[in-house]
């Protein structure tokens, strides 16, 4: 069985196609593995392969862990929030439906920061997820459950969502691959909205090839999502052998800032590896990117304050018992149903959109966003890719940053600019480094960003670099393929 679980999704797919592997048995093996979840990665698991409306009768591809932000008909969907406790959606998200149609059984729904707001998964109403490399540390967030499930041997692959780094950062902290596609590449229909203009679905996988395989399933225009356009061409499996002729830009405006020495060492080693593989390293300027965090923490909460207003106790989910009028019912339901970080962002966003403050906050943030997108456009005139560390640090300890929201927000320093620009970016494991305070080594992610809709090229470069790096470390007890 261990051998079975060591396969990548693509490896399993090929074995199934060759008739060497029974897809049902393979899914069962993963169900048993998922049942051993000690990381609090899953909020719901399909214990016996009967997921009702979202069941797959004849599996034909690796089973999948789904972030609990995706609506799944008849299956509990909470977005990590108390306010949706017990909620079973009447419909299924397009991304999940596509996976089901491709024959991927759903192993379970994974834990997450409440409404995807967080970088450590400590904002889940259902308890934090533990990092499989060190259970005293966070897996990153907000898609912490999906990242920990894949890294911890509880799922062969998973889907998550990335608004400002929620796929890439946990992928980096858990030592796996995380891809945030171009905004619009994958339908958002059925993905519980945090910040609509930024949210994008993407894969968590063991390697770049699996990411390409899953992206091919997920991408596409969806009549239910007016902002979806799909990719110009369905991605094929990457096969690039080196990086000859490709230019990689290091944005000194971002990498010039202070971050963990261990992360910096891995980042610099990776730049050398790129050159060894024939790639060229240039410095590029993203003069407005360092204001990304500020703009992001205006735009995302503003949209969230509106998106989360529907959780009012009237139609579904939790309703606080109240003897008062409708306003009191709203207030009690929302006071009891939402966690502290969600409330903080609703307040921030409500303020930013208020009459008299709109231009100074939301209007200004949108201008910064446009500038950042312009910066990337100029950079891509000069280079093929922009590269940074994915996260300024390796996985930090549970509770380490919970008292300081600002230092928590800075986790997204390297990932937010790409989200604001709507461009694709991938995090691949690039090596191991000690945390700033010392201790056992933990994974470090390397982020590669490409122009909008250049996923194929991005995957090609990431694949070649992945092969060159040869990262093969795994958390203890996790089979290595």
């Amino acid at each position: 069985m261990t051998e079975l679980l060591a396969l990548t999704a693509l490896g399993a797919h090929r074995a199934m196609a060759a008739g060497d592997l029974d897809a049902g048995e393979y899914a069962d093996a993963w169900r048993r593995a998922a049942a051993g979840d000690e990381l609090n990665a899953y909020l719901w698991r399909d214990e016996d392969g009967d997921a009702g409306p979202v069941a797959v009768e004849r599996p034909s591809i690796a089973p999948i862990a789904v972030k609990d932000i995706f609506c799944t008909e008849g299956v509990p969907t909470t977005a990590g929030s108390r306010i949706l406790e017990g909620y079973e959606p009447p419909y299924t998200a397009t991304a999940v439906r596509k996976l089901i149609e491709a024959g991927a059984p759903i192993l379970g729904k994974t834990n997450m920061d409440e409404f995807a707001m967080g970088s450590s998964n400590e904002n889940s109403a259902y308890g934090p997820v533990l990092n499989p490399w060190d259970r005293e540390r966070v897996p990153g967030g907000s898609s912490g459950g999906s990242a920990a499930a894949v890294a911890g041997g509880l799922a062969p692959w998973a889907i998550g969502t990335d608004t400002g780094g929620s796929i890439r950062q946990p992928a980096a902290l858990c030592g796996i691959v995380g891809l945030k596609p171009t905004y619009g590449a994958i339908s958002r229909y059925g993905m519980i909205a945090f910040a609509s203009s930024l949210d994008q679905c993407g894969p968590f996988t063991r390697d770049v090839s699996d990411a390409a395989l899953m992206l091919a399933i997920l991408q596409g225009q969806d009549p239910c999502d007016s902002t979806s356009v799909g990719l110009p061409k369905s991605p094929s499996l990457p096969d690039r052998e080196d990086l000859t002729g490709l230019r990689f830009g290091v944005p000194s405006d971002l990498t010039g800032h202070d971050f963990d020495a261990g992360v910096r060492a891995v980042f610099e080693a990776t730049l050398e590896k790129i050159q060894e593989l024939g790639g060229e390293i240039d410095t590029v300027s993203l003069p407005h990117a360092e204001h990304g965090i500020s703009a992001y923490y205006v735009i995302a909460p503003a949209e969230a304050s509106s998106n989360l207003a529907r959780y009012d106790g009237v139609r579904y989910g939790m309703r606080a018992p109240s003897s008062g009028d409708v306003i009191e019912m709203y207030e009690q339901t929302r006071a009891q149903g939402f966690g502290a970080e969600v409330k903080r962002r609703i307040m921030l966003g409500t303020y930013a959109l208020s009459s008299g403050y709109y231009e100074a906050y939301y209007g200004q943030a949108q201008k910064v966003r446009t500038k950042i997108a312009g910066d990337f456009k100029s950079a891509f005139d000069q280079v093929d890719f922009v590269v940074t560390p994915t996260s300024p640090s390796v996985a930090f300890k549970l509770g380490e940053k919970t008292a300081d929201p600002l230092s928590m927000y800075l986790n997204d320093f390297f990932t937010v600019p790409m989200s604001l620009a709507g461009i694709p970016a991938i995090s691949i494991p690039a090596g191991l480094a000690q945390p700033a305070g010392g201790g056992p080594e933990l994974p470090v992610g390397f982020q590669i960003a490409a122009p909008a809709f250049a996923e194929q090229k991005l995957l090609g470069a990431a694949y070649a670099l992945e092969q060159g790096i040869g990262f093969d470390a795994r958390p203890e007890g996790v089979p290595n393929g």
């Binding site: 959606p89 419909y91 229909y189 239910c224 999502d225 902002t227 503003a302 009237v314 409708v326 959109l353």
Partner: protein
């Protein structure tokens, strides 16, 4: 103190008669069982997204064309955020600073803008208060939630309650003839709110306005505005000032009540709807909207008065009844006489005949050709006007050829002047008192003798000729 002039602007919500809702595939309906036309999208389940109804955009473009509005090359939707159970998302998707249609006009009244939005769900408050405050319970019917609306806002160009009501009628008729809405005020598919203020006559400045709601008929619209104007005038004349507020009109007793609850000091926190894309109508869509326009009431009134010389009230009557107008034009085409008699017959005698027979226009057997033939007979003095009405009654009920009916019923006008002369002479002899009075200069007395002649001839005599003969024979 100078006289206070009324300054009135209207905001009209038109529910579009599309097949489905504004942002989801739910069927539109009125009067069905509550909450049967709902889906995850219009119930605002987590994760759902709106998709713009293309038919609603086309309908809005037709309205824009009919109101001669400038169409925005690119317009966008905003979110209007507020908490209330009739708004499941807690925001209404509406258009804010870039509406689909800008400046336009209908008749003499300028249109400020027209924009697309979605309707709220319907609330029913159980208990005595009739409002959410103090009600025993409130029920929500989401069938209506998400119905496409076009909100039309006028400039404050109306100067009286009567003018406002009459213009609103013209607007309703215009929208109705486009076929894009049922425009039924009682069912709420047409809702008219008033923005009302007063100012010293001749002033250019606008006074503080109040918003008047809940006038679900044109009569109530007029009465409500009238009441609010009176209230404002009394207030100002007593040295007070008008406060900006929203008032609810109660038609039962004509009273006005300030509205609170939903509007409690609102900041709607508008921002561009990130789930939708820009509306950018193509040249083909714009052309299609323009070409789909029937001749609308305002244009028809202008043509009828200017080109056909009809009186304004008759032109208005025809213009607001497109079926009748069409019948008028067909009759005119088949007739040898001018537009004025034909219009008089269509709006006068025909309407009366239909009412008399209790027959709908659509069911009447009379055709444009037969009516034209009948009018020609009357105008050509082949039959009297009275006989004409008799023939028309037959045409309405049974149809047929007027000339045949005239023959069959012996209604041909007495054309032999000798015969008529002797009938008149006999009538004078039979009415000596009247004859004496006529001779004495009492012109009115002639009626008695004319009536006698008509009775004798069963209406087949030409009234004018009878008059002339009486006067001639009496030397009056």
């Amino acid at each position: 103190m100078a006289e206070l002039e009324a300054v009135i602007g209207l905001e009209i919500h038109v529910q579009l008669a599309t097949k489905t809702k504004m942002f989801c595939g739910c069927e539109l309906s009125f009067g069905d069982e509550p909450n049967v036309h709902t889906c995850p999208v219009c119930l605002a389940h987590p994760g759902v997204l709106p998709v713009i109804n293309e038919q609603a955009v086309r309908f809005a473009l037709q309205i824009a064309a009919a109101l001669e509005c400038e169409v925005a090359p690119r317009s966008i939707f905003h979110r209007k955020n507020y908490f209330y159970p009739d708004s499941p998302k807690a925001y209404q998707i509406s258009q804010y600073d870039i509406p689909i249609a800008g400046a336009g006009r209908l008749g003499d009244i300028r249109i400020h803008r027209a924009h697309l939005e979605e309707d709220a769900a319907k609330m029913i408050h159980v208990g005595e208060s009739g409002r959410i405050h103090g009600s025993g319970a409130s029920l929500v019917d989401f069938n209506r939630g998400g119905t496409p609306l076009v909100e039309i806002v006028t400039e404050p160009d109306l100067r009286s309650a009567a003018e406002a009501a009459s213009w609103a009628r013209l607007l309703r008729e215009t929208v109705r003839q486009l076929g894009v809405s049922d425009v039924n005020m009682e069912e709420g598919s047409l809702r008219v709110d008033g923005n009302i203020s007063v100012r010293p006559a001749g002033s250019d400045e606008l006074g503080t306005k109040t918003e008047l709601k809940n006038m679900n008929s044109f009569r109530f619209l007029e009465r409500g505005i009238e009441a609010e104007l009176a209230r404002q005038r009394d207030l100002i004349e007593a040295g007070g000032t008008v406060e900006q507020e929203t008032l609810h009109f109660h038609p039962e007793d004509g009273s006005l009540h300030p509205l609170r609850s939903k509007e409690e000091a609102h900041d709607y926190r508008y921002f561009p709807e990130p789930d939708l894309v820009t509306i950018a109508p193509t040249e083909a869509m714009l052309r299609e909207a323009r070409e789909s326009l029937p001749e609308l009431p305002a244009a028809r009134i202008e043509r009828y008065t200017n080109e056909l010389g009809l009186a304004p009230d008759i032109a208005l009557t025809l213009a607001t009844d497109p079926l009748r107008a069409q019948f008028f034009e067909q009759t005119l085409k088949s007739s040898d006489v001018g537009a004025i008699p034909v219009a008089n017959w269509v709006t006068g005698e025909l309407t009366a005949a239909l009412r008399q027979a209790e027959i709908d226009t659509e069911e009447a057997k009379v055709t444009a050709t037969s009516l034209a033939a009948l009018i020609d007979l009357v105008q050509g003095k082949k039959i009297s006007h009275g006989s004409g009405k008799t023939v028309l009654a037959t045409l309405v009920a049974e149809g047929g050829d007027p000339a045949e009916i005239v023959d069959r019923e012996g209604l041909a006008q007495i054309s032999d002047s000798g015969e008529l002369e002797s009938i008149v002479a006999a009538a004078i002899e039979a009415n000596p008192d009247a004859a004496k009075q006529i001779k004495a200069g009492n012109g009115k007395a002639i009626g008695a003798i004319v009536g006698f002649v008509m009775k004798q001839t069963k209406g087949r005599a030409d009234g004018g000729e009878v008059n002339r003969l009486i006067k001639e024979q009496l030397g009056a």
